[in-house]
């Protein structure tokens, strides 16, 4: 990582316009009816407004904020899935975004086929997948289910597999949307240990979490968003966490 530039992630004045309304999955008839009756509402709103931050190599950034604060949208911009409407995000090195991993499997494919497909999605090579496939299935404890169609698995099994595949990433910049551990009891322990390994690997990490405790323990920088606006970006983790707690309990309000 000697050639890692000074700031692996820089976000400058990032504004992202999001669309919301009843346009989703409507048919032509409904669209025309809504247009005629003037009921067609597409609301443009700013999911993020003037968000700026920069990270040093190895930084662990926690993003906190209530629902609808624009956290996930910001993650998608860093991952390159969305483009900022204004401002920019600059990322050096390869990025892995682990977003909503439980979904997005193909229910008709087998465990094996889905594993390879997901591996390909995460940017692994075929050679690498051939090498680690056994370990992944073993880790997910799905040895006997390899040739089962995905629809036959329980949701616990699916998230275990999702985690087992995702936990192989070793990117320069890691983006996490609440996927720190899955499963129950024993598997949770196992996955937490694995997660620690990833976090200790030195990757610059951005993490969205609703657990202040987690953020307090893991992160050395915190970004607080509220309704798309940046309340604070600081390395005073303790301070911001206690302010956020006060805010959540209604003791303070923010402008």
């Amino acid at each position: 990582m000697s050639d890692t530039p000074k700031h692996p992630v820089v976000a400058k004045d990032v504004c992202i316009r999001y669309k919301r309304g009843d346009f989703k999955q409507i048919g032509l008839k409904e669209y025309i009816m809504k247009r005629l009756t003037g009921n067609y509402k597409v609301e443009d709103f700013w999911a993020d407004w003037n968000v700026s931050f920069s990270l040093d190599p190895g930084d662990m950034l926690g993003i906190i904020g209530t629902n609808g604060a624009g956290k996930s949208t910001l993650l998608k911009a860093v991952a390159g899935i969305m483009k900022p409407t204004k401002g920019f995000v600059r990322v050096h090195g390869n990025v892995s975004a682990l977003l909503e991993l439980g979904s997005g499997f193909d229910k008709d494919l087998t465990v094996k086929e889905n594993t390879y497909l997901r591996g390909a999605m995460l940017g692994y090579t075929r050679a690498y997948m051939n090498e680690v496939y056994r370990e992944i299935v073993d880790f997910a404890e799905l040895k006997e289910f390899e040739n089962y169609a995905f629809r036959q698995l329980s949701s616990g099994m699916k998230s275990r597999l999702a985690f087992a595949i995702a936990s192989r990433v070793r990117p320069d910049v890691l983006i996490l949307d609440e996927v720190l551990s899955v499963g129950d009891g024993r598997f949770r322990k196992k996955s937490e240990k694995k997660m620690r390994e990833i976090l200790d690997s030195g990757a610059t990490t951005i993490l969205v979490s609703h657990s202040l405790e987690q953020v307090g323990n893991l992160c050395n920088k915190v970004l607080w968003l509220h309704k798309g606006r940046q309340v604070d970006f600081t390395d005073d983790v303790k301070g911001i966490c206690s302010r956020y707690r006060d805010f959540c309990e209604g003791n303070i309000s923010i402008g």
Binding site: G27, I81, D108, Y116, M121, M129
Partner: protein, 259 residues
């Protein structure tokens, strides 16, 4: 532009291969004959149409079987590519909302699958040509041209349809009606000899008719189509491809909100 696409394809090669595999597997899942169907289903169509039109309507044109098969072959390829292509974006929303991949990857993988299917059927078609005592000549090599252009045409239409389908789910119905119209207007099972020049102009406006006729001219008439025909095929292909590419570029960041 093509160089850049090739480079990005290279980077996503593994994903692309897995997508193609998936499209194959999904196509034949839960069917006993599997791949056999891609050979059998055009043959069955051929059989039915042949019976209907020779026994009931008494069309005894020379090489009618080859004539018919050429129509079924091309139209089947066109129909499968565009129908499958339409759902390429919506069906893969789970992937492109999670990882940053070029969105045309899904359409391309679907088209690789249909193209390979088409290649299989084409082999059967050539066998039928032998049975039907068609003279093979060097002109058969020219078949590559309409196939490449048709593939490009399918891709372009797929770009347009899949983009529209994200916004309007009615597209499936509209497209199947359009497809029926195109089918009857493509002279799959009838000859166009007796039509007026005005009517021929209408036929000429139907891209699929042109692709079918081009192939028939080479195979049955054993002649090289005119320069004008070559141009027309390319015109249709590039026209839809440019429109589709423009739509994708324009809407690239919009798709996310609608799926």
């Amino acid at each position: 532009m093509f160089r850049r696409i090739a480079k990005r394809l290279k980077r996503h090669q593994f994903l692309f291969e897995e997508l193609v595999k998936r499209d194959f597997k999904k196509k034949y899942k839960a069917t006993m004959l599997g791949m056999g169907w891609s050979l059998l289903s055009p043959l069955l169509t051929l059989f039915v149409l042949k019976i209907v039109f020779t026994q009931f309507f008494g069309r005894g044109a020379p090489h009618y079987t080859t004539y018919l098969f050429a129509g079924i072959l091309v139209f089947g390829f066109f129909s499968e590519s565009t129908k499958g292509g339409m759902t390429a974006l919506v069906g893969n929303a789970g992937i492109f909302t999670k990882v940053n991949v070029p969105k045309y990857l899904f359409l391309m993988s679907k088209n690789v699958q249909t193209l390979l299917n088409f290649a299989l059927t084409l082999c059967v078609f050539l066998v039928f040509c032998v049975i039907d005592r068609i003279d093979f000549s060097w002109r058969f090599l020219l078949l590559v041209y309409p196939i490449v252009m048709l593939t490009l045409f399918n891709l372009g239409l797929g770009l347009i349809l899949s983009a529209l389908y994200v916004f309007y789910r009615d597209m499936t119905y509209l497209w199947s009606v359009t497809m029926r119209l195109l089918m009857y207007g493509s002279a799959v099972f009838y000859k166009t000899d007796g039509f007026s020049p005005e009517m021929m102009l209408v036929f000429r406006c139907n891209p699929v008719y042109n692709y079918i006729t081009f192939i028939r001219t080479i195979v049955i008439d054993n002649t090289v189509p005119e320069a004008w025909d070559f141009g027309l095929l390319a015109l249709f292909a590039f026209l839809v491809f440019i429109i589709g590419g423009f739509l994708y570029k324009r809407l690239n960041t919009e798709f996310l909100y609608y799926v």
